[in-house]
Amino acid sequence: MNEFELSIIGPAFLASLLVLSTHVPLGTEVLRRGIIFIDLAIAQVAGLGVIAADTMGWEAEGWLVQIAAVSAALIAAYILHWTDKRWPEIQEALIGVCFILAAVTAILMLAENPHGGEHMKELLVGQILWVNFDQLLPVAIVSALVLVAWYWMRDHLQGFGFYALFAFAITASVQLVGIYLVFACLIIPAIATRHILRRGIRIVCGYGVGIVGCLAGLMISVRGDFPAGAVIVWSLAVSALMFAWLVWPMIRHKDHSAETNIG
């Protein structure tokens, strides 16, 4: 690996580590609740917030747009939290409806205001290769806060807390790496580790799957000159398969015996 390849992979790899740090634990919860499309819905609504801000003539750059995006995402999170309590049996369907409503609302608003469209596109299709170190600091702070909140009150996160954390994490990560990669980082490690009983081991294994996948994807992207985000989604999937078929069978007895000992 030469200096040039390192300089390309460096910021992109750090960005993927930040995204994985929050998405692996959140992903296990999302999978447990069976609401896997919640990230698409929240990200789409965050995009809607950006268009709304633009329509109101707010400055296109900087933190005002971020506030608009997070506020919209939080409103969506609150509504979804409410529907989760009110109609838990159809929550996933309602999340799907929320997603398409946000998407078509964007089309309707954009008919009047394509500038907002550019901003929304930026928000939804972040490109991991174009990440700079100075973009990573705010995301690192948000990720740290989300993680602290998560470990501090994960056992009490039945209510709005979980959805609110999710809104913050998704709004930050989508702009960095784009919606496909966010979905992959959230769901794929969680699926690969779903049989692991102990929460700590599961999270560690999930991080392993994610880190191997992201690093391999970035290397393949640099060596083969492919768009990085798309390659990483595939390498995450391959990394998950390898873990579930090769690694997990070799270490599973430890997890189970540990569980028996604790029990």
Binding site: F4, E5, I8, G57, I107, L110, A111, E112, N113, P114, H115, G117, E118, K121, E122, Q127, I128, L129, W130, V131, N132, S221, V222, R223, G224, D225, F226, P227, A228
Partner: protein, 301 residues
């Protein structure tokens, strides 16, 4: 996989070759400027072109080789006027090459040297798609090419003075051939004057202005946003009694709006090459203009 290995290999060979030879490394955003660069600099430059005729120059996926190319560039040649606003600033920031940043001699913006059309008088957000800088698709008027050629040659001389004699003589030669060709095209295109056409977007405004074509309707006035039912109804109503000769689009645009219109009022769909490589015959600026005019002639009634 073999293809990607080959690409890596050519990248490595490219690195070795360019670091030993004294050729200027140039990063070019659109194929039309690469063709102009070949005319003006020949083998004095090694160029990397970011987009092809089949890619929307407004949009680009980040690939490692693009960052590498900008990082090593002595000069970047782009259209400007907000054409690349969605990706070039990010790419420049990511590549961290001071020579080619905004305002430095290594940053050449073609649109700065021509008179742009469709510059809004007042920036009204309700107008939405209006670009404050005007229409950036400047390359389909030969007068613009002429002006950009002068400016680009001057820039090459500025950053690579050791070859200034060659750049100057190539410029003189190009301008002579270009002005002869332009005269021919203008003569050939006299019958095209007033030819009525529908278009997808405002991608051909400069061509229309030069040849006095009459763009009677624009199907998707706001790129990426489907036209409303009312807009389409107005267009149909307006075009049905007196259909235009055809509906023109670029190779990278979606064919659906053209299909829709041609199915309803029975007119030809014309995919103009738009830039180098857009049709097999468009291999340089000269053949690009030849092909464009020939295709319009074919459909002129």
């Amino acid at each position: 996989m073999v293809g990607s290995m080959l690409r890596v290999l050519t990248l490595i060979i490219g690195l070795v070759v360019t670091s030993t030879a004294s050729a200027l490394n140039v990063f070019v955003c659109q194929p039309e400027w690469d063709s102009l660069l070949q005319e003006l600099a020949g083998d004095k430059v090694e160029s990397t072109v970011a987009t092809t005729a089949f890619q929307d120059p407004h949009r680009l996926q980040a690939r490692p080789s693009l960052i590498a190319a900008v990082r090593q560039a002595d000069l970047i040649v782009c259209t400007g006027a907000d054409m690349e606003i969605g990706w070039l600033p990010l790419l420049l920031r990511r590549a961290g090459n001071a020579k080619v940043q905004d305002g430095n001699p290594g940053n050449f913006v073609a649109a700065n040297y021509v008179r742009r059309v469709e510059i809004p008088v007042t920036i009204d957000r309700a107008q939405g798609d209006v670009h404050p800088q005007g229409n950036p698709h400047i390359h389909l008027n030969p007068r613009n090419i002429e002006r950009v050629a002068d400016a680009l040659a001057e820039r090459l001389i500025n950053i690579d003075p050791s070859n200034s004699a060659e750049y100057q003589s190539r410029l003189d030669d190009f301008q002579r051939r270009w002005s002869d060709a332009t005269e021919d095209w203008e003569e050939r295109a006299i019958p095209l004057e007033g030819m009525r056409l529908a278009a997808h977007h405002r991608s051909f405004s400069y061509l229309a202005e030069w040849l006095d074509l009459d763009i009677v309707a624009t199907l998707e006035p706001k790129p990426g946003i489907p036209a409303s039912a009312a807009q389409l109804a107005t267009i149909l109503e307006q075009l049905t009694p007196n259909p235009p000769a055809g509906v023109i689009r670029t190779p990278y645009e979606n064919e659906k709006p053209s299909h829709w219109l041609s199915a309803r009022i029975d007119i030809a769909e014309i995919v103009l090459p738009f830039t180098i490589g857009g049709t097999p015959g468009s291999v340089d600026l000269f053949s690009l203009y030849d092909e464009t005019i020939r295709m319009l002639e074919e459909h002129n009634r």
